[in-house]
Subunit: 287 residues, 2 copies
DNA sequence: TGCCTTCGTGCAAATTATTTTCTTTGATCG
DNA sequence: CGATCAAAGAAAATAATTTGCACGAAGGCA
């Protein structure tokens, strides 16, 4: 549990003075991590003991424990408050992208719906056939990644980014099968259509998408991904990285769930690769 | 600049006592961030002043500044020392994957070769035609991502994951064109063959791969990605996320480089999507 | 209305942590 | 074999943090 999450929860229950401290944390965070308790107290117009009590309230042992926690979290967690990269220099752009990506991961982690994930894993692990759908570049990558992951565990899976094919596949699917669809925006109307058809045919569906979106509404299970998008049109979507991490989580859990089968299949795949390539065993399962 | 990087540099120039302190940082990091100067000094069998001097040496103002810096960096930077997730519980697996991903990004950032990136960007921005190659699931994703990104900026690009096609395309390419190949392992022999052919034909090549690998050796420019791989076979590769971030960096820089052209093309693509879909302007460029 | 309790707060003292200064030790080099 | 210097500890000085206590305001209850 990180300190900003706790702060969020406690907020409202805080007193006036404590609120002033909280404001400084949120507004002048750099100052807060570097300041001593006296400086911080001074800036918030409270006495040092009040700061100590504030820290305790947030679940820290002491002021210095508090600062450490703060520094930990904030390295990642606060950066999304900073808008745009300093310059177009290579180094700055790189820094900005890395930070945003780490941040997307941080926010994803914070907002993960574990119950939904568990349900989804169960469905994936037990489906007789899996159809992974996604279009538009980003989501189509997610769909083919799903295929790329799941077939390694011995599951039957195919991916499609073609709307017509998706509809036809949905029509061909059976109630023991499973549709998984990804939509970053949640407003892919064709995916909604495929999901709706699946519902009529009693084929279960999993959506990886924004909650409260048309796609989410049309699915049996929604694994929500709710992230703020940056607004630089050149800088598409650290969201993609969050989705990929979510895929990692899902497929790792699926792997554990179907373990014996997965080990055998992986070994077979690896053997194929090694025999077929240059015999170096260190290589990855798929380059 | 983070503290572990500094530690790396200074190492060797440190005295005996200072080395003992450094060891504790590296081995029992959790202890180090939480300990007081006295506890830390005690554990390292040195006096408190020695610890203070050590902190100064590493570029910090004081011990507490040092702790803050440490906490900041280490939240991400040290986790790769921790081997495996605590359990197979959903929450732990999620935590583990997110951490590893953040970590891969951290390590990527630390090891980025900015000069190589700049050279690559220049080549990409000025190529008449770009061929993106990658195979085996992971790298093929990178190749198609490259296509997915670059075409948006008005560049001419195609991707292939098919070895035979890659060879034929390399044979068809001209010196004003560009081959970009990705290989996580660096030992994709077919990619080496395509690059070698390109070299004979004076077609420039960019490799996104491990340095000191056959693929790197065969390329005109190598943008190195050197990351330690986790060894859980079920958990393939937060490396993929690092590659994707690198792609983000490259393509953002390319976008800046070819700006006017990029804006026009993006607007056209967006217009197509909006007209074609449900008219909601908030959607992403490609779902 | 008036008393009592509770909570939030600051002050000052006590405690603890950190840094500075001074000194010793041990190694290196002419 | 000293002279010099870096390294490191001891003790003192300083600064930071916490604790104990008391006061005052707000709200509940007779």
């Amino acid at each position: 549990m990180d300190i900003f999450a706790t702060l969020q929860e406690e907020k409202g229950r805080l007193s006036q003075s404590e609120n002033r401290i909280a404001d400084i944390l949120l507004n002048d965070f750099e100052f807060a991590v570097n300041a001593s308790i006296i400086e911080l107290a001074g800036k918030a117009d409270v006495s040092p003991p009040t700061v100590t009590r504030f820290c305790r309230r947030l679940g820290c042992d002491s002021f210095s424990d508090f600062k450490v926690q703060l520094a930990r979290t904030a390295y990642i967690g606060m950066r999304y408050l900073k808008p745009e990269p300093k310059s177009r220099e290579t180094g700055d752009v790189a820094q900005d992208i890395i930070t945003k990506a780490q941040n997307a991961l941080f926010l994803l982690h914070r907002s993960l719906d574990l119950a939904a994930i568990e349900q989804a894993v169960e469905r994936i692990a037990t489906a007789e056939m899996i159809y992974a759908f996604g279009s538009g570049g980003n989501s189509s990558m997610i769909a083919s990644e799903l295929q790329n992951r799941l077939f390694r565990y011995g599951l039957r899976v195919t991916a499609s980014s073609d709307h017509s094919m998706q509809l036809m596949m949905a029509a061909a699917a059976r109630p023991t099968d499973l549709l998984i669809g990804s939509s970053f925006s949640g407003r892919n109307a064709e995916l909604v259509r495929a999901f709706t058809l699946a519902r009529e045919l009693k084929v279960p569906t999993i959506a990886l998408t924004q909650s409260n979106s048309p796609v989410a509404a049309a699915a049996t299970i929604t694994v929500p991904v709710d992230l703020p998008e940056g607004n630089n049109i050149y800088r598409p979507t650290s969201t993609r990285i969050a989705y990929l991490a979510l895929l990692d989580i899902l497929s790792s859990l699926v792997a554990y769930r179907v373990q014996p089968q997965a080990t055998v299949t992986l070994r077979r795949i690896k053997q194929q690769l090694v025999t077929h390539r240059d015999g170096d065993d260190r290589q990855l399962l798929g380059d």
